[in-house]
């Protein structure tokens, strides 16, 4: 159990919102829906004045498999992070959805927030998470013929060979 999440003393009932596990992170509310609950939860929040999707991004937790998550949430390699904003109530809420590495796909939010189109394309481009039913799932930042998804942790940063490299063997073999 994370120390940021404080369950009420003596009551094992975890806090819930719209049937989804709710946790607290530095005073900010975070929802942890499953992939199946994801779109339904967002739709409920949209009806509940959360009219703007401020941000949609992802994190690759390949190198941090044992991160702290609320009880009942099994950490997967990818995590989709969605920030919703209620202009009426001046509130924000964040959703963190676990996306497994062997099936990196999740439903699109395009029907609810058209502005997520580009953000989902970016997540697809950078992490290789496929958004089902997205109207135009193509790379957005990297060139079309790019190989791999650069923000994955197992994607090497790469180097540009420089003239003054100490790798003498490589220098000599250069035409």
């Amino acid at each position: 159990m994370s120390d940021t999440l404080e369950p009420p003393a003596g009551a094992p009932e975890p806090p819930m919102l719209h049937g989804v596990l709710l946790s607290d992170s530095h005073g900010q509310r975070v929802l942890h829906p499953t992939r199946e609950q994801y779109v339904t939860t967002v739709r409920t929040l949209l009806d509940d004045t959360y009219s703007m999707c401020a941000d949609l991004t992802a994190v690759d937790y390949l190198t941090f498999p044992n991160r702290t998550l609320p009880d009942g949430i099994a950490g997967e390699r990818f995590e989709l992070v969605v920030n919703l904003l209620s202009i009426e109530r001046r509130e924000r809420i964040r959703l963190r959805v676990q996306v497994p590495a062997d099936d990196p796909s999740i439903a699109t939010l395009f029907d609810l927030y058209p502005g997520t189109e580009a953000m989902e394309r970016e997540v697809y481009d950078m992490f290789g998470i496929v958004f089902t039913d997205h109207p135009d799932l193509t790379r957005i930042l990297m060139p079309e013929d790019w190989d791999g998804h650069p923000l994955r942790k197992d994607y090497d940063q790469g180097r540009i060979p420089v003239q003054f490299s100490t790798d003498f063997a490589a220098r000599e073999s250069r035409p």
Partner: protein, 434 residues
């Protein structure tokens, strides 16, 4: 997909699975516009308010058209990536019917430099040098939001010394002025008021000169850091700011003469690029774009950070959501920033400019000469960085230009820094156990 089954949900699902299957097999779709004949009515309808602007009836009519590619009387051409009207590089893929643009797909990424990937290998101390470059028009706001998110994770966000907070406000407002001045300059140039470019750059340069005096650099300052700011304000800073505050308002009056009241200027902006409040919200637009549609949303007022709740200013709101409103809002926001800076000058407290927390603050330069411990402390902080506890935080600030940054850091190095387009700056932090 045959035309009888265009709206058939089952076939649609099969098509979606098809796309997913192709992507998994390593054959990714090309970055092109799909031929209109291949779009379903449902897809066209969904795009209302997003990329495509057409009425529902029009879209529905398109769905009824026989799917005959030979009858597709449209042409797709590229504008850019090296077009004089696109500052930086941007390619617009346009679908034309005669001289009418039917659809437009912007192709971006030409300036993508992988800063998020770079950030993964930087410590929190070095992170500022990276995020400040994400948007060279508002570097101080980038640093501010990164620092605020890091401070939240460290749990020191309430302990930042007063002087540091007011200094951050001063710099962030001056940065808003310099950013909006550049907006005036480049937009004036694009719309035919070419002399405006020089005037805008001239005023911006005065602001940058002040930044240079305070931080040492015109831009990419790395001045606002976790725990406070890098140095105190230099001697004579108050006079420099007062000089700016006296110089800029009459120049803004000149802009009014050159642009605001000009019939040509008005012709070219009024009623152009109109978006409704509903569209702006659906698309996630914030800042001046959202305010131009009449939504009074300003993070400085609505979710106050720093000490914005203690200063008086107006949130400038438009009423038509057109290009003219977006211009006028920025022009008047410079005036509001001047108002805020006047109040900051009155309220600027004395005291420390960074938190005295040995965990995040390097020792003063003079101590390094006389104390071995201070030298080691300094070395450790700058080589290894400081450790940030596991957790995640989200911080949003009202930033002058369209960017929003999200960082997800771990113990010593943030494993994830992301930056997307929006109209305010924001920051998420996800930290993990090592």
């Amino acid at each position: 997909m045959n035309d009888a089954a265009v709206n058939d949900a089952a076939v649609n699902d099969a098509a979606v699975n098809d796309i997913v299957g192709t992507i998994r097999a390593g054959n990714e779709p090309a970055q092109g516009l799909k031929p209109r004949s291949e779009l379903t009515a449902r897809e066209l309808l969904r795009e209302v308010g997003a990329v495509l602007r057409m009425s529902e009836a029009e879209a529905a009519k398109l769905g009824d058209l026989p799917l005959d590619p030979a009858d597709d009387q449209t042409m797709i051409i590229n504008m850019g990536p090296q077009h004089p009207s696109t500052h930086g590089v941007l390619r617009l893929m346009l679908e034309l019917q005669g001289e009418t643009v039917l659809r437009c797909k912007p192709i971006i990424g030409y300036l993508h430099t992988g800063m998020e990937k770079t950030g993964e290998n930087l410590t929190y101390m070095q992170g500022g040098t990276n995020v400040t470059r994400m948007d060279y028009l508002s570097p101080l706001n980038n640093e501010l939001v990164f620092s605020m998110a890091t401070e939240k994770l460290l749990g020191i966000d309430g302990d930042i010394p007063e002087r540091a907070v007011w200094m951050r406000m001063l710099l962030s407002e001056l940065n808003r002025m310099s950013s909006h001045l550049l907006f005036m300059a480049t937009n004036g140039m694009d719309l035919g008021a070419v002399s405006m470019m020089i005037y805008g750059w001239r005023e911006r340069e005065e602001v940058l000169r002040f930044f240079q005096k305070v931080t040492g650099l015109r831009m990419n300052h790395n001045f606002i850091r976790p725990g406070g700011v890098a140095a105190d304000l230099p001697a004579g800073w108050r006079d420099d700011v007062l000089h700016l505050l006296e110089m800029i308002p009459p120049r803004l009056e000149e802009y009014d003469i050159l642009m605001t009241g000009q019939p040509i200027w008005r012709e070219r902006l009024q009623g152009v690029g109109v978006i409704t409040a509903q569209e702006a919200i659906a698309l996630g637009a914030t800042g001046p774009i959202l305010r131009s549609t009449g939504v009074p949303w300003d993070l400085r007022r609505d979710t106050p950070y720093l000490h914005y709740d203690e200063v008086e200013f107006d949130v400038i709101v438009g009423s038509y959501g057109d290009a003219f409103d977006r211009y006028a809002i920025r022009l008047n926001e410079i005036r509001e920033s001047i108002r805020i800076v006047h109040q900051i000058l009155d309220r600027m407290p004395t005291g420390d400019y960074r938190i005295q927390d040995k965990k995040v603050t390097p020792p003063p330069r003079a101590r390094i000469d006389e104390s071995m411990e201070a030298l080691i402390h300094h070395f450790k902080i700058f080589t290894e960085g400081f450790k940030v506890p596991e957790g995640e935080a989200y911080v949003a600030v009202e930033s002058p230009v369209a960017r929003s940054a999200a960082t997800s850091p771990a113990t010593a190095r943030p494993p994830r820094t992301a930056c997307t387009c929006g109209r305010h700056r924001s920051s998420t932090s996800n930290a993990c156990h090592t």
